[in-house]
Symmetry: C2
Subunit: 151 residues, 2 copies
C-alpha cells in the first residue's frame, strides 16, 4: 500500500523528499511493531535483542557499555539499564574490568546464546517472509538510498 493510503493522507505531500521522511518513519514503526510482537513471548525488547546480537558477535570477547552504545541502532537508549535487565534474566554477565575499574566487561551467557539462537532464527525467518516482496537488487538499492539519505 502506498504511504498516502496507510496514513489516510488526503493532500499530496509537498515534495518527494518530505514524503520519503514520512515513509521512512512509518515503515520503521511498522516493522518495530512486528519485531516487538515476535520477541514478546521471549520476554525481551528489540533493543535488548539488539544488545544480545552485539554480544554474540563479539563472543567470547567481552563488550563494555561504551562499545554497546557505539554499536546500538539507537544511540540514546540507555545501555546501562538494558544490560541490568538482561543480567537479571541471566542472559549476560557483567564483571568489573580488571584493567580499568571504570569499565564493565559484559559477556553473553550460554543461556543467552541459546535464547538468541532461537529468537534470531525466528526474526530472520520473519524478515525473509515479510521482505521477500523486494528482490536482492532492490534491497541493495534501498540500502544505497538510505546510506545516501543520511548524507
Amino acid at each position: 500500500m502506498k504511504i498516502e493510503e496507510e496514513i489516510k493522507q488526503n493532500k499530496p505531500f509537498k515534495s518527494e523528499h518530505q514524503k520519503a521522511v514520512v515513509n521512512l518513519m512509518f515503515t520503521a514503526s511498522w516493522w518495530a511493531q512486528h519485531a516487538t510482537r515476535l520477541l514478546r513471548p521471549y520476554g525481551i525488547s528489540q533493543e535488548q535483542y539488539n544488545i544480545l546480537r552485539i554480544l554474540r558477535g563479539m563472543h567470547p570477547e567481552p563488550a563494555t557499555i561504551k562499545t554497546l552504545t557505539e554499536r546500538m541502532l539507537d544511540k540514546n537508549s540507555n545501555a546501562s539499564r538494558l544490560v541490568e535487565k538482561l543480567k537479571q534474566k541471566k542472559l549476560l554477565d557483567r564483571l568489573e574490568c580488571p584493567n580499568d575499574r571504570r569499565r564493565v566487561d559484559i559477556t553473553i551467557t550460554e543461556s543467552g546464546l541459546r535464547m538468541l539462537d532461537e529468537t534470531s532464527l525466528l526474526m530472520e525467518g520473519n524478515m525473509s517472509t515479510y521482505f521477500n516482496t523486494l528482490t536482492v537488487e532492490e534491497a541493495k538499492q534501498l540500502n544505497d538510498l538510505l546510506d545516501k539519505m543520511r548524507g
Copy 2:
C-alpha cells in the same frame, strides 16, 4: 557513511534484506534524533507535532481520537494522552461531540496554528538541508521501495 561503519559492524550482513532492515531502523532513529532536537525548544515531541499537522490538515473540521490514531505514524502511541498534553499547552481544543457522546471533537487552536507554522517551516527547512543528498528521482525510488517493502 555506510551502515556497517555507522554501527561498527565487523562481520558482513547475512543478506541484503537483513541489512536493509537494520539500515531502515538506524536511519529512522537517526532522523528521529534530529527531529526531537529541532522541536525541543518549542516544548513538543515528534508525535505531538504529528498530531498538530493532522489537525491543521483537517482544520476547521474537527478530528476525533480515532481519526488521529488512524493517521498517526505510530499506531500505538496513545492519542488520548498526547491530546491531553497538547490541550494543557492550549494548542488544541477538545469538546464532547454533540452527535455521539462517546467521541471528542478535537480542533487546533489559533495558537496551535501559529506554533505549527513556525515549527513546520523549521522542520521542512531542515529536511531539505539534510536530504538534498538525494535527487528527486532518488527520493521517488526510495518511496517506491519502502512501499514495496511493506508488501
